[in-house]
Symmetry: C2
């Protein structure tokens, strides 16, 4: 099981040549989930060699431009690349209207199906599920309706303990799937061999929580409890804590406090205001509260395997 | 009198790290006119150090994404930069609806006045005029409603021929403006001194014609006749003339033919398809028809003074 997060952009507000607005790709169990899509995201996707065709699900946290203005361009480019496979977009209500109006007025017909999944709930909800992954919203506290997203692997199959299985003559290959599924083995004489004596626990499922944009908001702590990786916005440092409060953003210190209280394993900071030229200060501010912290940087990859 | 054209982007279709979609800034008589606004234009404006605050008029040729998707981001950035001065946008009908819907749904209120000037005419029309400049549309032939733009300096004031004026004792400083305006001088004894004997012709007005996107279209020739500078799209080379015809774009050879027939002074080629890696071929194809031809390149500046 593995999880790989590629940062495409991690700056707030207006795009600059070396400071792109928010976008990330999360690779988990053969899914490539695109999270947010600021202006220029499609260029970053090319730059960091993510294959366009692999992206089938896009998650938009909120409809501020630095998280959203690149979506129409990406949709159009998919079309120019002759995409046929369907695209699912999870976004606050309104995104569909904007995209469809633009496609209509620009007469840019797309030849692949786009399914919009309007997000409206103010409580955490399951929005995607397959055999291996489930995704929940994380309601955040921002100036407009905003969700973070929690990506969770499901508990995998149990691993066969072959040394022990080969000692049992009656167990055949056709029994393996039942064992992987956790079933005990019943011998011909009626004796039961416990599944735990024949299999090993699967690796613990991995999880990633994306929380941007948001003010300091303790209500998200139970939702993101114990995640392996947390991306929490830190638009400001504590020198601007009042501005953070006013604009409903967070400081690095506040992000660290959320990480600590939620017992996450690692914290990534991002969504920096352009006023800060030296980003190391974000680490300096967060570390006394939460040690395992790193800066998001464009092109940086965070990988976890187990 | 001078004219300075800065190319911000000159490639067709999808943006790439080193191939931005169409946008240009024309500096003429202290105006900074932005022409087209593909995704990433605001980043290019920063990169090539054009001052955001100087842009007061934006001209959108048509509503295809590679000429238009950067507009909402630019409008939002103007707002973040606390712009107060008004902005005029000349664009096909529909642009206003798209921009206003996005501003509404993203709750991004702008605090400066935006005036949309809907373009709907299929004949060339005067859309802007002040003391020194006038701007006309150039109806083009493309898959959707499209205009090019003709920027023309007005004929300036006549220059005083001081050597001759100082020979005439009766002419005082307060008479100079009348002479600049072309009036004859009437002496106290009733004798008339012709204006031409006291002034020099002003430099001929400069003109720039922007023609993108368009198929080969001879109807535009009388409108752009004799301009100093013509930007004519050349998405393709003649190896793809059928594709050019089908998609209503032009080849370099066709652009050169238009330049020749319109007797323009200089031709700039641009809007290259990404299939061409060696852009010198565009020059090779155009030169036998029209000699004074150059390639548009990002950051390249074309200046004319007289």
């Amino acid at each position: 099981m593995s999880l790989k997060l590629t940062i495409l952009g991690c700056h707030s507000a207006t795009p600059r040549t070396f400071a792109h607005p928010t976008s990330q790709v999360l690779e988990i169990n053969n899914h490539f989930f695109l999270i947010d899509c600021g202006e220029g995201t499609q260029t970053q996707i090319r730059k960091f060699k993510v294959k366009f065709s692999k992206i089938k699900h896009i998650f938009i946290s909120h409809l501020h431009g630095d998280h959203f203005f690149g979506l129409i361009g990406l949709i159009s480019t998919f079309s120019l690349l002759n995409r046929q496979t369907e695209l699912h977009i999870f976004a606050p209500k309104g995104a569909e209207e904007i995209i469809n109006l633009q496609l209509k007025l620009t007469k840019s017909w797309v030849h692949y199906p786009i399914y919009f999944h309007d997000l409206t709930s103010i409580e955490s909800e399951l929005i995607f599920e397959d055999e291996k992954v489930e995704i929940f919203t994380i309601p955040l506290k921002h100036r407009i309706y905003t969700n973070g997203f929690l990506f969770k692997e499901k508990l995998g199959e149990r691993k066969l303990n072959m040394a022990k299985i080969l000692h049992q003559n009656e167990i055949e290959i056709c029994d393996y799937q039942n064992l992987k599924n956790g079933k005990d083995f019943i011998k011909e004489n009626g004796l039961i061999i416990s599944n735990k004596d024949l299999t090993i626990d699967p690796p613990p499922p991995l999880s990633y929580a994306y929380c941007s944009d948001t003010a300091y908001y303790e209500a998200l702590i139970p939702i993101i409890k114990n995640v392996n990786l947390l991306y929490h916005e830190s638009t400001f440092l504590e020198d601007n804590v009042e501005l953070a409060d006013k604009t409903k953003h967070s400081t690095a210190l506040q992000a660290a406090n959320i990480a600590k209280k939620a017992d996450v394993k690692k914290l990534i900071l991002g969504h920096y205001s352009s006023r800060y030229k030296n980003l190391e200060k974000f680490i300096v501010e967060a570390t006394p509260i939460f040690k395992n912290v790193e800066l998001a940087e464009e092109g940086k990859v965070f990988s976890i395997e187990n």
